[in-house]
């Protein structure tokens, strides 16, 4: 059996290795390929690569007015800025809580719906419905629910409690985590259901014949097969957790109560106030953190999911 690194060699009748020469491309072929590639190439250059360098440039100047090179001063300023620190802390806290919850709860839901339960398809549709609701409507519903005079507070009052200003207290993040889960669980659940249905039935049947319990089946077989999906859902949820700013902004505006002030608030506000140097430095810092997080996830996935992927 050949190992992965060994290459098949073709020998001639005298035992010499036959080396095939690649046929060189004609100028016509090169031109055709170039022409096909050029729209994408220019698009990527103009809309991605060029702005990328512009951001780096902005991050190293004192202001868009003076444009004097200040090196790392903006990064230092942003890292020492207490609003940025608060925003980073809040965003990290939100992601740390909401992403694992989004994975675990959607997986549980997928496992439940995998069984033959009554109204299975109705439930599936029900969980997916938040995806179809426009953000503005979601925000309106949440305002009705969690407003100071909203439904939740009325219920709290009925049971003898004191109303809570949900969006202007430390409970703010809890409300937004619930909103995030409500909106994303359905999509994650569908991804997990698809992954679960792709597990070879024969493997599960053999394990059942061997007397494996449901728990053992889940842990030793299903989890192994759905690991790539868990990572995918994890990365998607992480990205979505950064995008929750949209809902928070519509619910609470530019400057929300401290616990709801996210990194994108910082960036959005600095954009509006023309502090592009701060915005760019913050974007680069956030980008580096994202690269590290996603890099770690890739490495972990590489280690854990290798045997299943083959």
């Amino acid at each position: 059996m050949l190992s992965k690194k060994e290459k098949t060699v073709v020998l001639d009748s005298e035992g010499e290795e036959i080396r095939y020469k690649k046929k060189p491309r004609t100028w016509r072929e090169r031109l055709t390929a170039g022409l096909f590639l050029s729209p994408s190439f220019f698009g990527v250059m103009v809309f991605f690569v060029l702005p990328f360098f512009v951001v780096i440039y902005y991050a190293n100047i004192d202001s868009i007015i003076n444009r004097e090179f200040v090196g790392m001063q903006n990064f230092e300023g942003v890292l020492n800025n207490s609003s940025f620190q608060d925003a980073a802390r809040n965003t990290a806290m939100f992601s740390l809580v909401s992403v694992p919850l989004a994975i675990i709860l959607s997986l549980v839901m997928a496992l439940i719906l995998e069984n033959e339960i009554p109204m299975k398809s109705t439930f599936r549709t029900f969980f997916l419905s938040p995806l179809m609701v426009p953000v503005a409507s979601i925000v309106l519903i949440w305002q009705v629910l969690f407003d100071y005079h909203g439904v939740i507070n009325q219920a709290v009052t009925v049971f003898g409690g004191n109303p809570v200003d949900w969006f202007k207290s430390d409970y703010g993040q809890v409300v937004v985590v619930i909103l995030f889960l409500w909106k994303n669980l359905g999509y994650n659940m569908i991804l997990f259901m698809s992954a679960l249905s792709a597990i070879p039935r024969d493997v599960l049947e053999v394990s059942r014949l061997d007397g494996a319990s449901s728990w053992k089946q889940f842990w030793f077989i299903k989890m192994r097969y759905i690991t790539p999906s868990i990572f995918f859902v994890g990365i998607m949820s992480l990205i979505n957790s950064f995008k929750v700013f949209r809902e928070v902004y519509l619910l609470t505006g530019d400057y929300p109560f401290g616990s709801l002030y996210m990194l994108q608030h910082f960036m959005n506000n600095t954009f509006r106030s023309l502090d592009y140097q701060k915005l760019s430095a913050a974007a680069i810092i956030m980008c580096l953190v994202m690269i590290v997080i996603i890099g770690i996830l890739f490495i972990v996935e590489d280690k854990i999911g290798k045997d299943v992927e083959g």
Binding site: L50, F52, R67, N81, N269, L279
Partner: protein
């Protein structure tokens, strides 16, 4: 290895995509002196477009028109001009001018008018007076039109106590006779009749402010159109269709757009709509019939555009600024072609209050001068600045200042911000509204937008810091540097009865709260007793004192702020209904129901406030932590861009506002106290004179004996300013230290959160904690 490379590529592409999102909106890299380079309005203004430059046709003159040419109509080779000559009786021209500028309607009621209609050639020459009415004290004539059968008509407006009455007069060949009492057409006495229009089918349109009555040629009503909301402007297109424009403001996007609507005769309603790329049209008759390839022309604040329905595109035909014409002086316009127009022109700042009919012709592009253009950005337009620019440009052969008027844009603030962000900076900024849009002067300085003017002032041979009233000048400085120039100031203060609060200016919130609490329940602090209105006032004048930008600290949990909210909470949550019959300010103060009146103080206003209070008055000012109270409010402030293309030239323009020559010539037109010590003397001389004479600069000055000042039902006869008044005012000036600076974002947060406290939903402490939390985030973010 290959897999690792792939992943590295993935990561770097993700990074590129993430960062590229914030990289859009790139401006051009530039060195110093980059103002006006880029795709924005400043660049557009600097690019000399010789095709939009017009000049007065000096060969054209219609001499001999008596009175003010208020309306005219061009009919082929003839022009008919309607003029009203005002007779002010014994009142002086100075009084008349003042009355015209400030309170014309009241003054008009006491005036006598003579209406005349002249006929002249569109090429000019002596006019023939075809009608001269009798001297009339009841009203004046306007809206001259020519019906399709060639009959001339005008509308006479008669002021009444319950609104205006209108009558239509028709020319019978020898005189104008009343044909129609417009009350029969529209019996709503509050409706204001803007103009008359005649369409191609001979229908007459009476354009009331929110309703249009369509009459046939015999003045019988054939249609009535209720326009939703008010319309800005009306006029005709080339084909004789009647048009109106309405401003549609989107509260969410804060963008306003102007819709042009065409009247459909068959349907009897407005049908086709076209969007004009302008936030508003400045006059009710801004739409004019097109000529040549254009269906219509419309006039914006600083330009005239040609518009084609088919292209849905407007093309700039005339640029007033490039033509050295102050558009505010121009009344009605009639475009004879794309290359010439006739207009009524009133220079209301001149000593003679001159009003005439002028013709402007397009200048041969090869003859247009090529002076260096410097731009001055103004968000909302500024009449005084425009006038100063016109005067400066006429005196210059090397430089030319152009006002870049952002008020023409759908969203002026967003457009200016976008221009700044793209590096397209103007050379100067109009900061008379205490900043640029939402950015206060302080924030603009912090962002490096403004140039430090101190070195220019120090080396200037004509003006120096010693020329100015010390307290007023010092309060303009930020960290010892001068960033804005201003022609004058007012003292922003709060007036109360001295017998109750003492005479010394300045007090703390605690003192004010104690004073308010000592009064019986139901006593109002301000005329509007609404809690939010009071808080808005406090935030406007005292808000900046709760934030220390240098330290990045906020003091919204301080006792002072809590006292302020408690003071506001003594009011009511009911919206102030100004329509409601309620006691006047004077009666409210007299009965003890009202405690404070806020005001902008000049020496002559001391007597006005004294009479309003009918008692010894104290100018306490708004309370603050240090008990200082009085603030300066600066008028007509201008700042230089840190990237100004020619700073010395810009300074030459800017310094004129603080120069003796400019101030001595114009101080009587200021709505403020001149900042120069020497001109201040002339200003006091003018305010205190008891008989007609000359001030120290040789300007005519008139006694103020006959002038009345109306305030909320009280007519106050203005006396010459006494030495005591002047002394008191000067003492207030010397005591004032602060300046008015408003931070919209802070105020919005405070007002939003305070509402819950005012409604009783939250405690004072809870409210202050939330405000402190949110504003701290804002302050730290902008540190």
């Amino acid at each position: 290895m290959k897999k690792l490379f792939k992943k590295a590529m993935c990561l770097s592409l993700a990074a590129t995509m993430a960062l590229s999102v914030v990289g859009c909106g790139k401006g051009k890299d530039d060195s110093s002196g980059n103002a006006g380079q880029g795709p924005g309005k400043s660049s557009e203004a600097k690019k000399s477009n010789p095709d939009v430059v017009f000049a007065e046709d000096t060969d054209f003159a219609i001499d001999g028109i008596q009175g003010e040419a208020t309306s005219f109509v061009v009919d082929g080779d003839d022009i008919y001009v309607l003029a009203n000559e005002w007779d002010f009786g014994d009142a002086s021209l100075g009084d008349a001018k003042l009355a015209t500028l400030s309170d014309s309607e009241e003054y008009d009621m006491e005036s006598q008018y003579t209406t005349r209609v002249y006929k002249a050639s569109v090429d000019g020459g002596s006019p023939e007076c075809i009608y001269e009415g009798e001297v009339d004290g009841e009203g004046y004539a306007g809206s001259l039109i020519k019906k399709n059968d060639g009959t001339l008509c005008f509308i006479k407006t008669v002021y009444g106590e319950d609104g205006n009455d209108y009558a239509l007069f028709e020319y019978n060949g020898t005189e104008f006779e009343e044909k129609l009492d417009m009350a029969k057409v529209n019996d709503n006495s509050d409706a204001y009749l803007n103009s008359l229009l005649v369409n191609d089918q001979g229908q007459i349109f009476a354009m009331y402010d929110n309703e249009i009555k369509v009459l046939d040629s015999d003045y019988k009503e054939i249609n009535s159109i209720n326009v939703e909301g008010y319309f800005d402007s009306s006029g005709m297109d080339k084909d004789g269709n009647v048009l109106i424009t309405t401003s549609e403001y989107n509260e969410e996007t804060e963008v306003s757009k102007t819709l042009l609507k065409k009247y459909d005769v068959a349907k009897g309603s407005f049908g086709d709509e076209y969007e004009l790329d302008v936030s508003y049209l400045p006059t009710y008759d801004s739409i004019m019939p097109g000529t040549g390839e254009y269906d219509l022309f419309y006039r914006a604040a600083t330009s005239i555009y040609g518009y084609k329905y088919a292209d849905k595109q407007a093309v700039k035909i005339v640029d007033f600024s490039s033509s050295d014409v102050d558009g505010d002086y121009i009344g009605s316009i009639s475009m004879l072609s794309e290359d010439e127009f006739i207009c009524s022109y009133s220079d209301w700042t001149s000593d003679t209050y001159e009003s005439k009919i002028l013709k402007f012709k397009k200048v041969d592009p090869s003859q247009v001068d090529n002076r260096t253009v410097l731009t001055l950005a103004s968000l909302w337009g500024n009449i005084q600045l425009k006038q100063a620019i016109t005067d400066f440009n006429k005196s210059q052969d090397k430089y030319k200042i152009k006002m870049v008027d952002y008020s023409e844009e759908s969203d002026p603030e967003a457009k200016l911000s976008a221009d700044i962000a793209s590096g397209d900076l103007p050379d100067m900024y109009d900061v008379s509204s205490y900043g640029i849009g939402d950015m206060s002067v302080g924030q603009c300085i912090a962002k490096g937008l403004f140039e430090d003017l101190t070195p220019f002032l120090e080396k200037d041979p004509d003006i120096s810091a010693d020329d100015f009233i010390p307290a007023a000048y010092n309060a303009m400085l930020r960290d010892g540097k001068l960033y804005t120039v201003s022609q004058g100031f007012e003292i922003q203060t709060l007036c109360l009865k001295a017998s109750e609060v003492g005479e010394e200016p300045g007090w703390t919130f605690q003192e004010m709260k104690d004073y308010v609490e000592s009064k019986p329940e139901g006593t109002k602090i301000f005329y509007s007793n609404n809690k939010s209105d009071m808080l808005d006032g406090f935030m406007y004048y005292c808000g900046r004192k709760f934030v220390n930008w240098d330290k990045g600290e906020c003091y919204f949990e301080s006792q002072d702020f809590k006292d302020m909210l408690e003071i506001c909470n003594t009011g009511t949550n009911d919206e102030m209904d100004y329509e409601e019959e309620m006691p006047s300010t004077y009666d409210s103060i007299k009965s003890g129901e009202l405690l404070c009146v806020d005001g902008y103080l000049t020496p002559d206003m001391i007597q006005m406030y004294s009479k309003l209070f009918d008692d010894d008055i104290s100018f306490k000012g708004y309370p603050d932590q240090d008990g200082e109270g009085l603030s300066f409010s600066y008028d007509g402030a201008v700042a230089m861009s840190s990237k100004c293309a020619d700073k010395d030239a810009a300074w030459e323009f800017m310094k004129q506002f603080m120069s003796e020559e400019y101030q001595s010539k114009n101080y009587q037109d200021f709505y403020c106290v001149p900042i120069r010590e020497d001109v201040y003397e002339a200003y006091i001389q003018c305010l205190s004179c008891t008989e007609q004479g000359k001030d120290k600069y040789g300007n005519d000055i008139y006694p103020r004996e006959d002038q009345m000042y109306g305030m909320d039902g009280l007519e106050i006869k203005m006396e010459p300013v006494t030495a005591d008044d002047e002394k008191d005012f000067r003492a207030l000036v010397d005591a004032a230290t602060g300046y008015v600076e408003y931070d919209n974002s802070v105020s919005e947060i405070v007002e939003e959160e305070a509402e819950a406290y005012f409604k009783g939903d939250k405690s004072l402490d809870e409210t202050c904690t939330i405000i402190q939390n949110r504003v701290t985030t804002y302050v730290n973010e902008n540190k």
